[in-house]
């Protein structure tokens, strides 16, 4: 087990470097750059800018310098936000995205698991069809439509929650609900399918046969196997939530990392793009590792050599 974890942790490093390399290549293939504007720069100015950022060197030297900095976890300064280091920008904006992302996932987990379990236990009942139709609705409404509708109803109509901005727990409600809808829907569907499959398996029959009460069978034996698909979904979902909150950040004017990332791509802010991509890809791989480890606890039949 320990061997497995160490091996997987070690492989994260080359994988992250490959991701960074590919991203760097993508950014370099794209025409245009961070300093070009509508107006053409005088050649002398352009030459000076190139010199300052080392863009006058051959590409392999630039690549080498970039990689060496990244290996030392020094992502340099943003070329767009003058005088601010990439690490600083990430540290400043990540807490917002992480807060609404994690809260949204918790909400999605509670709602999704409850709906999925009820749907599976009362299969083909009103509750089953009702919750699955709601889940399908959650998957079908784009969040940039859902968010403004919620604002219109609960902030501008009923005056219950503030329509935008960051401040106080009440201001978190609408963004978290908007963000969690699609994940709750996904989790409900995964839970239902997983529970339906597990509740018909032999070990559940064994648990019932040895006289356990239905609650224990359901929660201790059924759920552990049934939520494995949900656990697999959690890794990528959490990573996407930490970065993919762009729409919610825009709708509710929250200064999160998602919007910073989109802006950095549009601005060709190479150090910032690479920094955020490296950070996120390491995060994704660590989440995936935790997910893989937790399989072993959930399903004793899964073993790692």
């Amino acid at each position: 087990m320990l061997n497995f974890i160490i091996r997987r942790l070690l492989i994260i490093i080359p994988m992250a470097l490959l991701v960074v390399t590919l991203t760097w290549t993508l950014v370099r293939i794209a025409p245009g750059n961070f300093y070009s504007t509508e107006r053409k720069l005088p050649p002398a100015v352009e030459a000076n800018i190139k010199k300052k950022y080392g863009l006058d060197r051959p590409w392999y030297e630039q690549y080498g310098i970039m990689m060496w900095n990244i290996v030392r976890l020094d992502f340099g300064d943003s070329v767009r936000y003058q005088g601010q280091s990439v690490n600083e920008i990430i540290r400043r904006h990540l807490p917002y995205s992480a807060t609404i992302g994690l809260l949204a996932y918790l909400v999605a987990l509670v709602v999704g698991l409850a709906a999925g379990i009820i749907a599976a236990l009362k299969q083909n009942s009103f509750w089953d069809y009702g919750s699955m139709a709601l889940a399908m609705l959650g998957l079908s409404v784009p969040n940039f439509v859902l968010g403004p509708i919620l604002v219109l109803a609960f902030a501008l109509g009923l005056y219950i929650f503030p329509p935008a901005r960051w401040g106080g727990p009440l201001s978190l409600v609408l963004p978290v609900v908007t963000l969690s809808a699609i994940y709750a829907a996904y989790i409900a569907r995964l839970t239902r399918a997983g529970m339906l499959e597990v509740m018909r398996s032999d070990y559940i029959r064994t648990a019932r046969a040895k006289g356990l009460d239905e609650t224990t069978v359901l929660l201790k034996h059924g759920l552990r196997g049934g939520i494995i698909p949900v656990v697999s979904f959690t890794g990528p979902a959490l990573a996407a939530l930490l970065a993919g909150t762009v729409v919610v950040e825009r709708v509710f004017s929250i200064p999160g990392l998602g919007n910073i990332f989109i802006q950095s791509v549009l601005n060709r802010d190479e150090p910032l793009i690479l920094g955020i991509v490296a950070f996120l890809s390491i995060l994704i791989m660590i989440f995936n590792l935790i997910v893989d480890i937790s399989y072993g606890f959930l399903d004793p039949r899964i073993r790692y050599e």
């Binding site: 994988m15 950014v27 079908s140």
Partner: protein
């Protein structure tokens, strides 16, 4: 005679699936809505032009009419800020949105199926390398890939085959349409990853199963095994996953349009109409509600249809 029996057997697999699909009320609902929607966006715009004179970009000459009117008998979905009939724009947007969904899915299908099947068929180290590449591309935010693809091949750099495709449909020098065609490929090229995994998993699990061994033992030829036994079994999950890719690609397009990177004026998609509507939500709510609801209804139906197809076509998951 032998040919004939084989044909009947081959057809029964699909007929069976079709029968199961028709039993699923939600899937039938999805199918009916989709057929209706496709017919509507195809025949709707010309009918609207002939009867009412409205097109997606018709702006009334009367200055009094250049403002956003709420829904009325004349304009069932109201008009937008420029006085254009929203119903005509939603129909026109539906053409683009559905085309984005279908064509991008076909692109992802071609890339994903060939990649996944190659990896699984070759196996060993090549399979390992090919799937690690998929893992790495997974870790790059797809939005970055889409933006780079759109900017590398956008404007004057559009490949000539994309441009000539756009010209076939929209006339010479139609840069807006060329941009939309580019979007089809960009979205297709970022959504093949899961498809590749699905196909690889299928081929891997199928090539060692007993029924393949049995078929080989009874003397069925290799192409026979592949086409009579492996492909029909792998096709189910592929079709199912493709049906579920269509709505997810349409959502991605809507998201890109919301960011201002997707379909650009004068063209419109449901996503770009809805994101325009979001800006005016408090004053002209119909500008968001009609494109938004149309899009949600379509995605809803596609998802139900995909689920129904999974139950009908995929014997492995058809347990309940």
């Amino acid at each position: 005679m032998a040919e004939n029996t084989e044909f009947v057997k081959g057809a029964s697999l699909w007929r069976d699936a079709w029968r199961r699909l028709l039993k699923n009320k939600l899937a039938v609902f999805g199918l009916v809505v989709m057929v209706f929607m496709v017919i509507l966006v195809i025949v709707g715009p010309p009918i609207l032009r002939l009867t009412m004179g409205f097109t997606a970009d018709y702006i009334p000459a009367d200055g009094e009419l250049i403002k956003s009117f709420p829904p009325s008998l004349e304009h069932p979905m109201g008009t937008d800020e420029a006085g254009r009939d929203l119903f005509a724009r939603v129909l026109q947007g539906g053409r683009i949105s559905l085309m984005v969904g279908v064509i991008s899915t076909i692109v992802s299908l071609i890339v994903g199926v060939s990649y996944g099947a190659t990896a699984a068929y070759l196996g060993g180290r090549i399979d390992n390398v090919m799937m690690r590449i998929v893992d790495i591309i997974y870790a790059i935010p797809y939005i970055l890939i889409v933006i780079v693809l759109l900017s590398v091949f956008g404007g004057p750099n559009t490949p000539s085959w994309i441009r000539s495709m756009a010209e076939t449909f929209g006339g010479v020098g139609n840069q807006g349409l060329a941009q939309i065609f580019l979007l089809f490929f960009a979205l297709g090229l970022v959504s093949w990853l899961t498809m590749a995994r699905v196909v690889r998993g299928q081929v891997l699990s199928l090539k060692n199963q007993e029924f393949v061994l049995a078929a080989r033992a009874t003397g069925v030829s290799t192409p026979g095994i592949i086409f009579r036994h492996l492909v029909p079994n792998a096709l189910g999950p592929v079709i199912v996953y493709a049906t579920l890719t269509v709505p997810s690609v349409m959502l991605t397009e809507a998201f890109l349009s919301y960011l201002g990177l997707g379909v650009q004026a004068p063209y419109a998609s449901w996503g770009s109409l809805a994101s325009d509507g979001v800006k005016n939500i408090a004053i002209f709510p119909w500008q968001l509600i009609f494109p938004g609801v149309t899009m949600a209804l379509t995605l809803f139906s596609l998802n139900f249809l995909g689920d129904g197809l999974r139950d009908a076509l995929d014997p492995q998951t058809r347990k309940f």
